[in-house]
């Protein structure tokens, strides 16, 4: 049933596509980190329309499927003159989707800062920008790094969805190999095992990081 | 079960009981025999021998970390002894006989023997999702198998006794610390145990609430028939309520005797030092 010769034949091609998967993961993660922070700050803004917009955006994006958001970016934007490659559309979609999750992470970190820190910054006559840059963010981000690490892993596992907008990452490669030979078992199993091994070992690393951070 | 009657206050277990020694030839309700307990390398209890007579009120005093709570938790089956045996009303607690051999007790055996014991905790441990009445009714109903009416009647009687009949429908979060602890006492009493453990029942309370809880415990003690193991830092209370005081240090019973003897003529230096800290204020 399982064909080892065939497995060895297709393995290099799937591993080759892993590069695309990994780079899509990291670029999308960077998007999520930046947009997530912007959303968090917008949500805390005193300017009501801005904070309401951020809140609405977060709720809407979090309650609708990533796949449909990708279709939206990939098929709707070109109608309005913005054609994107599958890679760009993919990392934008994945990044925006998870920016709403990361904004919650930032928020948790910021809300755990004791009010005394804000007051101290005021007493030292810091500008709001300085307060954020020098006092609040440096204290609120390190404790949430493990949570961010877990989201990086989650985003890595979600990249197969990008194959739906024809990005040739490992899942798309496996689908193509499978449809050529009418054998999906080996290709999909390789993909599954790859994800399992990589994400499980990274999550162990995150757990270790968490322990180290807690010890400090 | 035929268990040889024991002499309470085993002579070897203590050097300093002197004239307070009351030899009572009845079966103890609780018997610790050569009990030791270790957590890894840390030995918390060292070869403890201790008998408690039916109805006897024993107070356990001693410095923090000396093993008082651990001694009580072994009896409540919350912690397992490393070696030694405990008997309750003549029956092994942590062991049972299977085919003539002594083996570790199973849950069924523990369940049978544990029914004789009740416990009041330092931090109350009330069930937050149940009303006061249900906190007190739940075990009579489900563990003793009483009908709803019987369980409710018993629970209400008990709550009246601790002065909380008017709080029946409240939730624990709506009560003061002193009221919570009185509910916890009612909840334990309603099971009618033969031995009741109180582990520092007032040390989590604001000072002004300590009195009401101690009063309730005193009243229960005065009723007589139930044995009590009282762990406390309230020396006046221990003197008033206890028949016997045990001074505990570093996992051993250092000295024991009547309250009068222990407080007026402490023999060991450690007990003297320990008591002097209380006498200063």
């Amino acid at each position: 049933m399982w064909n080892w010769d065939y497995t060895l034949l297709i393995l290099p091609q799937i591993l080759e596509a892993l590069k695309i998967t990994v780079s899509a993961t990291f670029v999308a993660f960077a998007v999520a980190l930046v947009v997530g922070l912007i959303l968090t700050l917008a949500r805390r803004s005193d300017f009501k329309p801005l904070s309401l917009f951020a809140q609405g955006f977060i709720e809407f994006v979090r309650s609708t499927p990533l796949l449909v958001q990708l279709y939206f970016i990939f098929y709707v934007l070109p109608e309005h003159g913005l054609s994107l490659s599958p890679f760009i559309a993919g990392v934008m979609g994945l990044g925006l989707h998870y920016s709403t999750y990361l904004s919650e992470v930032y928020r948790g970190g910021i809300e755990s800062i004791p009010p005394g820190q804000w007051e101290a910054a005021k007493a030292l006559n810091f500008t709001p920008l300085e307060t954020w840059r020098k006092i609040i963010l440096p204290q609120s981000i390190p404790p949430v790094i493990p949570v961010m690490g877990n989201y990086l892993i989650t985003m890595f596992k979600e990249t197969p969805v990008l194959s739906a907008i024809t990005l040739v990452e490992i899942m798309q490669t496996a689908k193509m190999l499978g449809s050529h030979s009418f054998r999906y078992l080996e290709a999909f199993t390789i993909v599954g095992v790859l994800f399992l091994v990589l994400s499980y070992s990274s999550s162990l690393m995150v757990r270790r990081l968490e322990v180290r951070l807690n010890l400090r | 079960m035929s268990v040889p009657l024991k002499v309470i206050y085993n002579e070897e277990s203590t050097k300093s009981i002197g004239n307070d020694l009351r030899k009572v030839a009845v079966q103890p309700i609780v018997n610790y025999s050569n009990i030791s307990k270790s957590y890894g390398d840390l030995q918390v209890l060292r070869n403890i021998d201790l008998d408690i007579a039916p109805g006897e009120k024993v107070a356990l005093i001693g410095p923090s970390g000396s093993g008082k709570t651990t001694l009580a938790r072994l009896l409540m089956t919350l912690e397992e002894p490393t070696s030694g045996t405990i008997e309750v009303d003549g029956e092994m607690l942590w062991h049972q006989k299977t085919n003539g051999k002594l083996v570790k007790a199973n849950e069924k055996h523990l369940h049978k023997v544990r029914g004789n014991i009740g416990m009041v905790f330092q931090h109350f441990n009330l069930f937050p999702h149940m009303t006061i009445l249900r906190n007190v009714m739940e075990a009579p109903r489900n563990v003793l198998g009483l009908s709803k009416e019987e369980a409710m009647e018993r629970a209400v009687t008990m709550l009246k006794q601790v002065g909380l009949a008017n709080k029946i429908d409240a939730y624990p979060a709506q009560l003061s610390g002193g009221q919570k602890q009185r509910v916890a006492i009612a909840r334990a009493l309603v099971m009618r145990p033969k031995v009741m453990i109180f582990d520092e029942p007032t040390s989590a309370l604001d000072p002004e609430l300590v009195g009401e809880v101690l009063e309730v415990i005193k009243a229960i003690a005065a009723e007589g028939e139930m044995a009590m193991l009282l762990i406390t830092h309230e020396m006046d209370f221990a003197r008033d309520v206890a028949d016997r005081i045990l001074f505990f240090d570093q996992g051993r019973i250092i000295e024991q005797g009547s309250p009068k003897r222990i407080f007026n003529n402490p023999e060991s230096e450690r007990l003297q030092t320990f008591l002097s800290r209380f006498n200063r204020h």
């Binding site: 309650s63 449909v68 709707v76 979600e158 399992l196 | 409540m76 075990a139």
Partner: protein, 213 residues
């Protein structure tokens, strides 16, 4: 205008909602089974539960669905689309749900179990009368979020051609080519379906923070 395409979504919406609800029920069951399994005294049970959870959390729903639908037939197991969808969704969400069950159960303070032991409750009674009622309340918001994740996950079944909302939209798009309207309407429909859940979660969280706990 856009509302002329609305009726076409009706059949798809039915499939999406059915898929979510069926899978949620099974996932809930699996979550308790695996959650308690991981807390079992028996090592083999703990191992089995942990293996299930790590496998289904270590890969994504996408890979699991494709594996069940395309790779299982090579073992002679050919599942209808709906069943493959429900199986993948519930196995996946069950693994996440088991973490919810496990973490809330161990977050009930130890003193609660000890009080239950002191009242001579059996292990069964400790769980059902004391631990679970307290854990369940804490689980509700997390389970609400999980259902929303499941609703979002259902969109993937369109890729194995099960005619859910997303599938209907892609088919419609390839025939009438009005992506802006079709995909906007599609996003809004998902949002509307999720609303009762997000509102429900918020209501429960509010009750919890204001309530007697």
């Amino acid at each position: 205008m856009w509302f002329d395409i609305l009726p076409s979504f009706w059949e798809g919406a039915k499939i999406t909602i059915q898929l979510t609800l069926f899978s949620a029920v099974i996932a809930f069951f699996l979550a308790f089974l695996a959650g308690f399994g991981r807390l079992s005294k028996i090592k083999a049970v703990r191992f089995l539960a942990a293996t299930y959870v790590e496998i289904f959390r270590g890969t994504s729903l996408f890979v699991q669905l494709f594996w069940i639908y395309f790779a299982l037939p090579l073992f002679g197991i050919m599942l209808p689309k709906m069943l493959a969808g429900v199986l993948a969704l519930s196995l996946n969400a069950g693994a996440y749900g088991s973490e919810i069950v496990r973490s809330t159960i161990i977050s009930v303070p130890k003193g609660q179990t000890e009080a239950a032991i002191a009242l001579n409750m059996t292990p069964w009674q400790r769980t059902w009368l004391v631990i679970l009622p307290q854990a369940l309340v804490m689980m509700l918001p997390a389970f609400g979020n999980l259902i929303i994740e499941m609703l979002k996950g259902t969109a993937l079944v369109s890729l194995v051609t099960l005619a859910d909302l997303t599938f209907v939209a892609t088919v419609l798009n390839s025939s009438i080519m009005r992506p802006t309207e079709i995909f906007s309407v599609l996003l809004v429909i998902y949002f509307v379906i999720s609303l009762p859940f997000t509102r429900g979660i918020r209501w429960i969280e509010h009750r919890l923070s204001a309530g007697r706990y």
